[in-house]
Subunit: 289 residues, 4 copies
């Protein structure tokens, strides 16, 4: 199977390498073309524009850094739109908002092309190991034809219906994560201020029904006030805000998420926006006593 | 090793049976004495009052239903206080508030006895399997001498310092649990009202960094609006309230736990107090649209 | 002094009538021209398009129903932009968001015109009595030249700096109002459920330091579960959301406003969006006990 | 009419002086007897114990500093209980919790005496001016016989039913006050951080439907970060906590009051407990940006 691949950042590189390893023919493009070299050594072909990749391949995957880059690769000169047509599929796995996804979908399908959005859950390591979780939505037929690709990239892929649903599902997952992180932070601080050991609390949580990789992974560094940014707090807060907006649209009252969002905002006002989102514990801790 | 055991409810029976199986000599007492019969068949001795058990055994464990029963067994006629003295240890594993624990501690140590509180995390099944988590506090020497007992009853035991700390730690664990349950509930409802499948959300959560036995165990029944009471909502709300009171004492502001507590209160006002605490999702769901 | 007046809805009619009474020469326009008749009887002139009004008058006031109408009157064929030029002032007193206001400002000033936004606080009665509160922002010179007009229309006018500040100030005022309404609602319900009279609570509040026209005006009907829509709940909730978004931009954590916003959302989900915003008390009241 | 008066602190002195001025015969007692001198100069008699006052007078009023003093005056040697009997009325106007009030009521009525609790709203100035608001509850007949006294001390007195209701009503009033203060604080900070003048916001609020003496009185000093303690923040937070507990008893979910309570707790953790409760604005303001 032959696939195009647009965008060779940390994620895109790991993903396209995986495809090569599993016997796919891969044609890559990246804004900075030199980043393609390593892939070429492993057997990839290169094109000089997104349009050329589309022209050459029946299926093209994109993994771009943000909504702005995702739009640019489609709409700019030499972009996807110039060559997309009936019989060709475009799978955008970048993390973008539902609105951006809908705009790209409209343009692609307007030219007769097929479109699937497929944001992923998981970062560098799962990308390298082919262990991503893929939240796909859009054209069902294209999704099904893409299953061999998704099977290589992820441990599981979901088809969620119409375009926008992938983005929405990701927001909801991140909203639960943000509220859980606050629940966890309040517990750790309460233990500490009540004269108990917050390290022991970690051990106890780890033995019970709430044990989860996030508490296990981040708890020990939180107890050391260390927050190396895996997922920056300001992005977590933005996702909380967008999830609350989704609740607003659908008249779902979510007081716990709203309280968590305000805690993340307080953390931002304390200058912690670029640290890991677990730094929200600093907003709970802060006192002068 | 010989131990006394007061209280043969669901938990106490499983625990004393476990001790017998592991070769301990066990002397039991229960308010309704007939409940001792099964234990006797497995080799236990019986006494007719808590005082007699204390007189006979160096170490006595209690596992009673509530603070009221815990106090009665110590202070009433024929109670623990009549025989406790220097050289004897009393280990109360009932779930009681810190105040009750402190009152018992004062009385026991006033007579020269040793006291450890040891509330447990885990219910019937872990009790039978010797897989409880024991949150012990009080007399360090008694705790250490009790380790052979705790090793049979639990998969792990913690020594948390002064009397009251066991009760406090349990409240904190339950507070995190209550906030997490609200985070989870809001996410499930938001998915549903946004046109996504809340069953798919469960699958996605299960594959990621937040996967935990509680979401896995309760999610499917929550999506079916079924809440068989494992831990009644009214008790969860009481623990949230007490944890918030602990925060009040120590000037820890916990806006997420406070919002979760109000959601549990709303659920109580909807008549859901006797269902499982996961029924809080009904307070999120409720609408007329 | 001669002024143009665009828009003769409930507010615009009362305001332009007031100007006539105070000796201003007024030239009016309304989308449905027949609505101008009553004003003409009292001495107003009429034009057939916004552009004609602008051409005729040095100063023109607009009072339109929503952002859409405000934009249309400026940008459509026969609109303000066709005739606005250096030496002419345009004062938009409609309630619009900051973004709409900025867009109009840019267009007007791009043609050399002067622009002031001036949303008002107060509804029909204060408009008739010339008792509005005017939250003006934009061109300072135009504001100062407009003072004779504002003195007739309002009891007080404020100049708040750059365009957008009028809209923002109105949001903040409404945010405080929404949180206060929730505080009030919770108190009334708590009194009732605690076996106290919520009517007596109104009397007590009225005698103390918190007495205010809103509690006095709305309390008695709230106690009768009557919510005739003076300010619809869905608009109040929208303003809470926008004020929270303003807080988000400026990293101001506002947990009480966030909780109030979620209560308004719950009220919307209960089908109360078109009632007065005081109907949020129904979300507090709701229970099955 | 002859009345006894126990407790001559700031409030008690002003109140008993008022009674003398209005022609009542007053017999006073105070723990530190020398504090009675000024009253004696104005015509009061003195007794050496609460019991003696009760013996001498048909009606006795108490105005004591806290629940502890209120209990001591009744139950200690030389206390009210020694002389209270059928035909005598005891009116405790101290601010105490419902539980204390119920305990006193039980003791007084157990001896055949009549009891009314009558906490007041208002501080030194209203006490001097006879402008207190009296929240009475208990024995209806005694309340009615006391009206001439209440008419001198207050501008309005309410009879709220059974003992405890006076205390509860006061908590509810203070809960609304605490939430309103947070709503106000969030608005002032948001104005400031959004580049608007928080002093102008005060002016605007003062002209609209939310104008109230509290905003007017405290706003200007809050904008100057000045919080001279009229009602200490730690007491306001305690009243929020007790009002939330009352909500808990009655299954009333109050998310806005809960969020306000957490803000007051955060303020306490910032060391602001002894300042005026308006200092909660500092918890909103606090940031490092």
């Amino acid at each position: 199977m032959e696939v195009g691949f647009l965008g060779l950042g940390i994620m895109g590189k790991a993903m396209s390498m995986n495809l090569l390893k599993h016997g796919f023919k891969v044609t890559v493009w990246n804004r900075t073309l030199s980043k393609c070299d390593e892939l070429v050594e492993h057997g990839a072909s290169v094109c000089e524009s997104p349009a050329e990749v589309i022209k050459k391949c029946k299926y093209t995957i994109a993994m771009l850094s943000d909504p702005c880059a995702a739009l640019s690769v489609v709409f700019d000169k030499g972009g996807v739109l110039e060559q997309i047509c009936e019989g060709k599929g475009y799978i955008d796995m970048s993390t973008v908002d539902a609105e951006t996804s809908l705009k790209i979908n409209e343009a692609i399908t307007g030219k007769g092309g097929w479109f699937v959005e497929g944001p992923v859950s998981g970062s560098k390591k799962p990308a390298e190991d082919g262990q991503l979780i893929i939240l796909a939505a859009g054209d069902k037929a294209l999704f099904e034809e893409s299953i061999p690709v998704f099977d290589v990239l992820g441990k599981r892929s979901f088809f969620l219906g119409q375009v926008g649903n992938g983005a929405k599902m990701k927001l909801i997952v991140n909203m639960i994560m943000g509220s859980m992180m606050n629940a966890f932070s309040e517990g750790l601080v309460l233990a500490d201020k009540s004269g108990l050991s917050s390290d022991t609390l970690l051990d106890i949580l780890d033995l019970g029904a709430m044990t989860n990789p996030m508490f296990k992974g981040k708890g020990p560094s939180m107890n050391k006030s260390s927050y190396p940014p895996a997922f920056p707090l300001k992005h977590q807060q933005k996702d909380m805000r967008l999830a609350l907006a989704l609740g607003d649209e659908n008249a779902v009252s979510m007081p716990v998420a709203a309280a968590a969002n305000e805690a993340f905002k307080k953390a931002r006002s304390l200058g912690l926006g670029d640290l890991d989102f677990s730094a929200v514990i600093e907003a709970v801790k802060f006192s002068r006593e």
